[in-house]
Symmetry: C2
Subunit: 414 residues, 2 copies
């Protein structure tokens, strides 16, 4: 099977390294003699049905390399989730342009799109090779040791919490940082990789893999605050009660916040603010601050894992090799082979499409509010080289000179 034209597109949320995969496809494809043109669809599947293509063959390799190192989706992305008829339309366009190979870089939804388009081509007897290229900061694709994009986002989260911990140590209080990940807690758990000294935060981590109970949360925070004189907390945007209802909606309802009633998890500070209010009002702690990492964690320029860059590039290259030399459609997956080394497999689309991986039990500690060494070992190599490190002064106290027994507090005196 061979064709003169291939098409590549990018779907879903952008990542720091998704352009590495796109450029990996574009440059590797041009090494194959049968390939005449490499098209890119603008804004994912939306650009396919709109026939909004650019000819990547006309790009310079030099500029492609620079784009590869630039975060976010250079071709543009889309939130469209194609149904059967949408996929049929995609197929019609691919056929009209005589596309022989279709590479779609994205997460679960994108892999399902690739699966349906592949079936349509088979039904029509049209020779189309369809390959899904993995990408998601949520790390929730099954069959993958991890997914491109996750390591760089995890690095951002780890660095953010390392800094938030230092800030919180300087001005003690409660700090709540809300991290993306609706179903899978990997990215929230990455906050723990910012810890160095034994009393460093995050002291508590709340994951969507465990049921969130407000009273237990408040008791945990109280205990940590009493122990450390401060508390840094990492919270997944996806935390929910036993029935699966998002905590943000429940708290918003309790507090009758109309505007937060219909809760959108990303792109608002609602959950962080609501949890902070609970802590302030129930635990009577004054200095309580919440941050929602929001889009920064996936789009911040200049915080990228070199391991992630390398692998994102390779899944793109391997996708083309599987597509040109292989005999079947599929989804490229990362398999860990050593400490630390990887190789790439082509999984059947059925095995990946529409499925969601969550954090394995061995990665979450017994209390459910921390991570295990297994997770630390799993994640550390992915974060790449040059992780910033934090140092502190060692204690060498000076003896007091003034005899001020019974004196409480200077601010009372002042």
């Amino acid at each position: 099977m061979s064709s003169g034209k291939i098409l590549v597109a990018q779907g879903g949320g952008p990542t720091a390294v998704i352009n590495q995969s796109m450029v990996g496809v574009a440059l590797e494809a041009r090494r194959f003699h049968g390939i005449e043109r490499v098209y890119g669809a603008r804004h994912g599947v939306r650009g396919i049905v709109d026939e909004d293509f650019v000819d990547l063959s006309q790009e310079t390799s030099h500029n492609l390399e620079l784009v590869a190192a630039t975060p976010s989706s250079a071709l543009g992305s889309t939130r469209d989730k194609p149904d059967l008829r949408y996929c049929q339309e995609i197929f019609q366009v691919l056929r009209a342009h005589a596309i022989g190979h279709f590479f779609y870089i994205g997460g679960n939804d994108s892999s399902d799109t690739v699966r349906i388009v592949s079936l349509e081509a088979q039904k029509a007897g049209y020779p189309l090779r369809c390959i899904h290229v993995p990408k998601t900061i949520d790390n929730d694709l099954v069959g993958n040791d991890h997914t491109p994009g996750f390591p760089s986002a995890a690095r951002f989260v780890a660095q953010a919490f390392a800094g938030a911990n230092l800030d919180n140590a300087a001005l003690p209080g409660i700090y709540v940082g809300v991290v993306m990940g609706r179903h899978a807690g990997f990215l929230t758990a990455a906050s723990a990789l910012g810890k160095k000294f034994p009393d460093d935060g995050p002291h508590l981590i709340y994951l969507p893999e465990r049921t969130f109970v407000l009273d237990r949360f408040l008791a945990d925070v109280k205990a940590a605050y009493e122990k450390y004189g401060r508390c840094v907390i990492a919270v997944s945007e996806g935390i929910h009660d036993a029935s699966g209802a998002p905590i943000a909606s429940l708290l918003a309802k309790d507090l009758e916040h109309d505007a937060h009633g219909n809760v959108q998890l990303s792109g608002t500070g609602a959950l962080a603010d609501l949890l902070c209010e609970e802590i302030k009002s129930k635990l009577k702690i004054r200095r309580v601050r919440g941050d929602t990492f929001g889009y920064l964690q996936r789009s911040f320029i200049g915080c990228v894992s070199d391991v992630d860059q390398r692998e994102a590039r390779e899944v793109g290259e391997k996708a083309v090799q599987f597509g040109m030399w292989g005999a079947s459609d599929g989804s490229v997956a990362i398999r860990r082979t050593g400490f630390y080394s990887v190789d790439y497999d082509l999984l059947p689309l059925d095995a990946v499409a529409g499925k969601t991986r969550v954090m394995e039990d061995e990665f979450i500690d017994e209390a459910g509010t921390g991570i295990t060494d297994a997770f630390r070992l799993y994640l550390r190599p992915l974060l790449g080289s040059g992780m910033p490190d934090a140092f502190r002064l060692r204690p060498s106290p000076v003896a007091k000179k003034l005899d001020r027994a019974g004196r409480d507090d200077a601010s009372d005196a002042g």
Copy 2:
């Protein structure tokens, strides 16, 4: 004037480079033969009145260098704003420990504390040399070209907006990023340094130096959205109406959000969420997302300007030199001498204490929603080396194959 003991302390919000100044003081002081001990007060003025000192002379130079490169205040900080009696107590403790030189690293409030302590020592006829060492991410100290800590925070903001702009270009909509700075808009304005291509965001910037008018804001956003098909907006947390009332409180009141009624500017996502709701409801735009940069912009580890590091170190060293060789108390200030070079002055404490610098008019464009080339020239050298750069694909469109005149939208078909 010479004494065997000096004291250094850190006040106010931590910065990425405040430890450079502390270590600059500690290492430079030990080069003076008269200095026997370098004490650090834990948690700023609070640690002074509590006599909570550590002996920095017993630290290794090696560890001090590592601490210097670590963000946040290694000695701890405080939000206490000493009044006269508090300052008198500070002075009593300094005298009890026979401190001859007092170095306080901080912003406006800290410089005022230094001023009052200096006066108390003079009144008592006690030989105390008091030097204020500048620090603030807000860049609002008068008499300084800029303040240590600002360049690194500005770099974070510029990088954050460069990434947010790429994300917004991939998935078009409205993005609102809320930046710290209650009175001075320097940090918010730094968002513009992330722009490269002419249509890059931020497309609109709202500063506390200009009155915020909601209707004008909505009209600006509408116009930008129509022009670019998307809009990235940088907003200072300190925006206010003509009477000076914070916009966050006004919007919260309008929308009857009880929990946001008493608005705290930092550490909540209220302002971003409220502005997003206004845009959604009034302009009927669907994809509207808000981020509040919160503590990340001052505490993120791994995003630091090398120029800032260097200067923060030097203000600490110069403070000691001014203090040991000079004949007067004062506040160290950065003076720009070239493109780009600086030198350091010692200003009278009166000239700095309690005053607030805001953005000069020449830095703000006529519309009030953008910055000038003068500001770009002012800020660029401060951001330091190795700023990440963004690249994009060049257009080379592919001709359409399908004749689908009158066809609107694939999702309508699907």
